[in-house]
């Protein structure tokens, strides 16, 4: 499959009507939350980005959380980064775990660290921190020296 970055950008633009920035082999798409699963599905099935590389989030303080994920087409060397703003105070985001099995644990980690609640995730629990942990440590408003008796 010979999907170039410019080709992928054009197809995303004509399908979803969103701008897709091209930088070398990397395409960056910023989508609203409603198009998140549709775009991931399109990328995975049509553009052939079957490798789910990673998923994470960014805390923009009063502007809310932003979820970032990267899908890759290893045959064509195409790298696609998807970003979506959840909006201030919003923690819900559609899950990609039904699309890629690789998204399962990445979304659990994202929930663990940022408190993003992925809707439709089969098993959204904490993955790295202990079950009785309070708060989400990678949020900007998390106090680093929060007591955790007796260890801290």
């Amino acid at each position: 499959m010979s999907t170039t970055a410019a080709d992928a950008s054009a197809r995303i633009r004509e399908t979803f009507g969103v701008e897709a920035a091209v930088d070398g082999a990397m395409v960056t798409v910023v989508v609203p939350r409603e198009l998140w699963t549709e775009l991931a599905h399109f990328t995975n099935r049509v553009l052939g980005c079957r490798y789910f590389n990673w998923l994470s989030a960014i805390d923009w303080k009063e502007h809310g959380l932003e979820v970032v994920c990267r899908l890759e087409n290893l045959d064509a060397g195409l790298v696609l980064t998807m970003r979506t703003r959840l909006g201030p105070g919003e923690t819900r985001c559609p899950s990609l775990a039904g699309l890629c099995r690789g998204a399962d644990w990445m979304e659990r980690e994202c929930y663990d660290m940022f408190g993003v609640r992925f809707e439709g995730h089969p098993d959204l629990r904490r993955i790295l921190l202990s079950e009785d942990w309070e708060g989400y440590p990678l949020r900007k408003d998390y106090a680093v020296d929060t007591p955790f008796a007796p260890y801290r």
């Binding site: 440590p137 680093v144 020296d145 007591p147 955790f148 008796a149 007796p150 260890y151 801290r152």
Partner: protein, 211 residues
């Protein structure tokens, strides 16, 4: 605008079994309350120690016991992080702590020493405590590296125990990030010295006593 460094609010460590040094020492040399045989033997040893001239017998016996103890300290193989690489190097042929009688042993139930080599995370701390509890008395702990000593570079991280002495009582702290095998070996020799002073009867030596 003045930029201030963050002032961390670190609460004092919460001890679970001991509050101060005396209690710590007591905890260290304590045995099970229903251990009648050991109680009897300790009573006999104490009686001999307080007989006129009896201290010669007890101190000599203790010296022999301590010589045996310090010549066969078996550390439990317990590697947590990058310090464990240096610990393995210490155990291996180049530095070879086996010439001091330290055989790395893969069971806490046969071990005398736990070398806490690396960062102790809050999730790992209960397991560390459990391994320490499984070791038979008398037992010693060497805290190896900055992370185990105080939390090190991760001290203000969200998941790191600020020093392993919040979980188990520590005998020797080895500084370094990570400590070289030489440093760890020096710490182990210091521990041997400390074990040589281990006493059950009579006046215990303190740190201020002349050697």
């Amino acid at each position: 605008m003045e930029v201030k460094p963050p002032t961390p609010q670190i609460p004092a460590p919460v001890w679970t079994e001991f509050k101060d040094l005396q209690e710590w020492e007591k905890y260290h040399q304590e045995r099970a309350t229903d251990d009648k045989t050991s109680d009897t033997l300790a009573a006999i040893a104490d009686a001999i120690h307080h007989m006129p001239g009896g201290w010669i017998v007890t101190t000599t016996t203790e010296k022999i016991f301590n010589w045996a103890r310090k010549s066969s300290i078996w550390p439990v193989t317990f590697g947590l992080a990058c310090c464990a690489i240096e610990m393995m190097a210490t155990f291996a042929s180049r530095f070879d702590v086996e010439r001091f009688g330290m055989v790395p042993w893969a069971s806490p139930r046969h071990s005398d020493l736990m070398i806490v080599s690396g960062t102790v995370t809050i999730k790992m701390a209960p397991m560390l405590k459990r391994i320490y509890d499984q070791m038979p008395d008398p037992k010693w702990v060497v805290s190896m590296g900055s992370c185990a000593n105080s939390g090190g570079p991760f001290r203000h991280g969200y998941h790191v125990v600020k020093g392993v002495d919040r979980v188990v009582p520590v005998d020797v702290y080895v500084p370094g990030c990570p400590p070289t095998p030489d440093s760890l070996m020096y710490g182990l020799l210091k521990l041997q010295e400390q074990v040589g002073e281990f006493q059950k009867t009579g006046k215990r030596p303190t740190a201020s006593d002349p050697k």
